[in-house]
Symmetry: C2
Subunit: 180 residues, 2 copies
């Protein structure tokens, strides 16, 4: 199998670091490629007591446009669970009494090691923490299964968000079966 044999930093911004990686191939040849290193994230699927899904509408600078999304943010210090509860309070003004781990997603395994920790948040209670000064966030509360309508309308296009919503739906369906 191939194997990473060396890596070094070649460029740095406030959000990510570019590294050069030397890779040894099966035939002994060495190749070099670049990757983007970035802090991991937590992403949360928040469900209210009456079964509604909370989506956020947010401006994303790289695409210079608004998209529907889910609360998410960097795991700075502390663990992904703490980051999840902090982002919930900053972005939607709730904290969760029950955060259920749905899995860990990768986004582009050829180019980055970045991981996204996905949680389902239940038992929400109002609790607001100040968010980033320049974040303007609009909330949408919708019946859970309606998220697919927003995929059809191309208002929900982020892979991590779509994958997380389907993982959440699967978790909830399996649980309903167990409870019956």
């Amino acid at each position: 199998m191939k194997k990473v044999i060396a890596e070094r930093e070649v460029f740095k911004t406030s959000i990510f670091t570019i590294k050069e990686i030397d890779l040894k191939l099966k035939n002994g040849k060495k190749v070099t490629f670049s990757l983007v290193e970035k802090k991991d994230s937590s992403l949360i699927v928040p469900i209210t007591e009456d079964g509604k899904l909370i989506l956020i509408k947010e401006y994303f600078a790289a695409i210079d446009d608004c998209q529907l999304s889910l609360p998410k943010g960097r795991v700075d210090s502390g663990n992904p669970l703490e980051a999840a509860n902090r982002e919930l309070q900053e972005e939607i003004g709730y904290k969760s009494g029950e955060l259920i781990r749905l899995g860990t997603l990768i986004v582009s395994p050829g180019n980055t090691r970045h991981k996204t920790h996905v949680y389902l948040a239940r038992k929400l209670v109002k609790s607001k923490l100040p968010g980033d000064e320049d974040e303007e966030i609009e909330l949408l509360k919708i019946p859970f299964d309606n998220f697919e309508k927003f995929i059809d309308k191309k208002q929900l296009t982020e892979a991590r968000v779509i994958a997380s919503l389907y993982l959440a739906r699967r978790y909830m369906k399996s649980r309903r079966k167990v409870l019956k």
Copy 2:
């Protein structure tokens, strides 16, 4: 709303370019952030005539490990549809007589403009094109709905791949209904 007012290249590798973007906030303040620019991709969900899903097992350099994935590759010249049929032939040795567009996914709208064009590929016929010299790809043919078992086993963790499989399943279910 916020608005991008200027952008400039600050670093370049063979695969991506780092840009600095100036953004004007609602309050008139200017902020600068960085983004990663990369060519768009096509990603394909291949389904055989007997309804099996073809997954690939591939080594990904950034995570220095193998993962289950779907055929995907860069849209270099030509359109995403051509890239889809080329990748199918390079990575799994089939071409498709029916490529159905399932949507366009974004991966990290705060950090990149990269888009992934997702296709469902039917009517597969054997046709092999030489792939990248250092790609070692293993194929798995599985009953379609079994993909969730690989998510549970943490062998399938890439957000774009999981999102695309659910979009494909939804498309096929809706079609089955129409045909009945």
